[in-house]
Symmetry: C3
C-alpha cells in the first residue's frame, strides 16, 4: 500500500499563551523529529489551568480534523508530579496529554483505547520537571506522526482519569441547572445545555436564566437580535448560547465563565 | 503541463480572535478536504464587526502573496441572514467571504469578476446559521485549493456590494478630511490619506490635524522623531501616519480608530 | 547528493503583535519567493522594542530547531537608520535581523560567523524606511531557504554588535545582583541567574531576593508550592524562577520585567 503523501497533522491546544517561547520550543522539537508533520494551533489561550475550557475547545475542534490527526492538549497544573501522561485512540484520531481529566469526554467513548505514556526512549533527555510539553508530549507526538505504533508508547490502561459529566443536573420537574462553559471573543455566553440532549427545546417554549436575566426569545441569527437586548441562539457548537447583536452579551449580563445558569422548559 | 508542486495557499483574515475554537475548526475542515493546502493566518484580531479595518488589513497583505492564493475574509455580522456569500477573482488571486462590502476595493478593480457562492454541494451539511466560516467558507476555499474551477462555485454577478470609497473628501481649496483607518500595536496612527493620491505632498509643505494636534514635521524613520513628540511618517503601507519614537502616538494624541483627521497642503 | 525533501524552516520572532498586517505581509513575501518554506511563529508578542526579551526568547527556542533553520528576529527601533542588517551563521543554524545587539549571545559563540546584509538584489524594491521585516528580512530569508549561500548576502564582518553580558554581577563574597528577564503568561518570574553558572546552588542553601520578598524554599514542581506562597523553581529554561501554584508570582511579588533581583548563597 503506498504511503499517503499527506503530512500527518499535530494540533496543539494549551494554556501557554502566545507571548512566551513555550509553543515555539514545542514546534522546534516536533519539527526536528518529524520534519513533514503539519502543526496546527487550535488555541494557546485556554484560561490558565482550566480543564473545563480545554475540554470544550477540544470538543469543538477535533471532530473537524481528518483521520489520524494527533491532538496534543497541554493544560497541566500537575506537571512534574506523579500524574501520568496518557495517549487515547478514539474516533480514528489520537489524543495525547496529561492524565488529569482533560480527555474525560474522549475516554468515555465506546471506541476509546487508552495507554499510559511510559516509554522514556521517546522523551527528550533529561526531562525537566516543569515543561513536559517540550520534553514529553512534543517528541511523543512527533514519533507518532512519523508512524510509531501507539502500542510502542506504553501499556493499555482502563483507568484513565474521567471527571464526572459536566452535563446539567435536573433540579425539578421542568428545570435543570448548568453553567457557562465559555465566553467567546464576541462576548457570546456559551452554556453547558446541549440542544442534542434537550430535544424538547425544538417543540416547547423555554426560558434560560443567566445572571439576573430571564431570556425567552430564541433566534436563529445574531442579526435577528433586537438592538440592546440579549437573546438565546441555537449556535453552531450545539450549546444554548446567550448573545447580543454586535455587542457583548457577557458584559450585558454581568456573567463570567463558570457562572451558574438555569433552564426551565415551560 | 506538469502540476505545480507548490501547495495552494489559503489565507485567513477574521475577527474571531485567538482565544476560541473557531479558527481551529476552520483549519480542520480545510485540511480534511485539502490536505496539501497551506493555511496562513493574516490576522484574527480585526476589531469585532469592523469592515473598515478588515479592508485595510486585506489591502496591506494580499498584494504580497503569490498568484492563485485564496484569501478568506470572515468579518460577518450578518451571518445567517440573506446576505450572500461571494467569490471574487482579481489580481490573479481569489477572494472569498460574505458579500457585505469587505471586498469593496477588490471588486472595484478592472479585472475583478465576482460570483455568488450558491453551490450547496460544496458546503458542510447541515449549514449552521451562526458559523459560515466553518460550514461554507472553509470547505469552499478547500475545494478551490484542490483545483475546483471558480465557475463551479456559482453564477457571475455584477452587483457585488461596493461601499462608497473611504477616500478623503475635499473640503476646501487646499484641505481634505479623512479618518483614522487603523492604530497598530505600537500606537502608530494610520490615516486614510494615501501618498499615491497626493503627489503634491512630495513637493509642498503640509500639516496633518489629528486630535488636538497639528503635525507639520515629516520624517523618514521612527528613530528620527524627537523624543516626546509626534511626527508624520511616510510609512511602508503608503498612508500618512502619525508616529512617535518608541512611544504610542495614539495615546499621545488621544485618538482612536475612526477618528476624523484633516490634511492641509500649504 | 540528493536534495533533502524536508522543507527549510524559517522562524519569526518579532514585536509586531498579532493584531496588524505586518506578519501576514512578511509571510506573503516569503511564500512568494520560497513556496516550500515552512514558516514557524515563535512569538510576535515581544514587548515593543525590548531587545532583552527577544534575546531570552531566542535563547529558549532556537536550540530546539533542526540544522539549517533560519531564525528571523525583528525587534528594530532603529529601522531605516544607518543600523546594519546582519546574518549570523552559528550552531549550524542561521540568524537574520538588525545588527542592534539582539544576537549578542549568538555572536559570542566560538563558531559564529557574521555577515552584513548588503546585497540589494535580494531586497524588495523599493525598500521602505519603516518596514524592513517585509522589504529586507523576509526576502533574504526566503532566498536562503531556497538554497542561496550565506556568502552571497554580503561580506564577513567581525564587529557585529555585542551588548555587554546581561549575566549577574558579583556584589559581595556570597551575593550577586541580577534582573528579571521575563514574566510568562502564568506570572512566573524568570531571573537572569542561570543554574549552569551557579553549580554551588545544587549543594548549598541560598536565598533569592525579589521585590520585598526573600525566597528560600526550592521546589521541583509548581504543584509542590504551598498555596498562597511563592517559591523558587529550577525551571525548564535553566534560570532561577520565582513561581506560585496556579497563581501569578509576579502579581504576588509586585515585580515587572527588568526589576532587580539578588542572590545570596549561604
Amino acid at each position: 500500500m503506498p504511503r499517503s503523501r499527506s503530512p500527518r497533522i499535530i494540533t496543539l491546544l494549551t494554556d501557554f499563551g502566545q507571548h512566551d517561547h513555550y509553543v515555539g520550543a514545542m514546534k522546534g522539537v516536533i519539527l526536528s523529529l518529524a520534519p513533514e508533520a503539519l502543526v496546527v494551533d487550535v488555541s494557546h489561550e485556554v484560561a490558565s489551568y482550566s480543564l473545563a475550557e480545554a475540554r470544550f475547545m477540544l470538543a469543538q475542534s477535533w471532530p473537524y480534523f481528518p483521520e489520524k490527526t494527533i491532538h496534543v492538549v497541554v493544560v497541566d497544573p500537575g506537571v512534574g508530579t506523579t500524574r501520568r501522561a496518557i495517549l487515547v485512540d478514539a474516533g480514528r484520531q489520537l489524543f495525547l496529554g496529561p492524565d488529569n481529566g482533560v480527555f474525560s469526554e474522549i475516554v468515555r467513548r465506546e471506541d476509546a483505547r487508552a495507554r499510559v505514556v511510559t516509554n522514556e526512549k521517546l522523551f527528550r533527555n533529561p526531562v525537566s520537571s516543569t515543561f513536559h510539553g517540550r520534553d514529553i508530549f512534543a517528541p511523543v507526538a512527533a514519533h507518532l506522526a512519523m508512524g510509531l505504533a501507539p502500542s510502542r508508547v506504553g501499556p493499555r490502561v482502563d483507568n484513565a482519569w474521567v471527571d464526572p459529566l459536566t452535563a446539567p443536573t435536573r433540579t425539578g420537574k421542568r428545570t435543570w441547572s448548568g453553567e457557562i462553559v465559555s465566553i467567546d471573543k464576541f462576548g457570546n455566553v456559551i452554556t453547558s445545555f446541549r440542544t442534542a440532549e434537550f430535544p424538547q427545546l425544538a417543540e416547547r417554549p423555554f426560558v434560560l436564566k443567566v445572571g439576573l436575566a430571564i431570556l425567552g426569545e430564541v433566534v436563529k441569527t445574531y442579526a435577528a437580535i433586537p438592538s440592546g437586548t440579549v437573546a438565546v441562539v441555537l449556535a453552531s457548537h450545539g450549546h444554548l448560547e446567550a448573545a447580543a447583536n454586535q455587542d457583548s452579551a457577557a458584559r450585558r449580563l454581568g456573567v463570567a465563565c463558570g457562572s451558574p445558569v438555569e433552564l426551565e422548559i415551560l
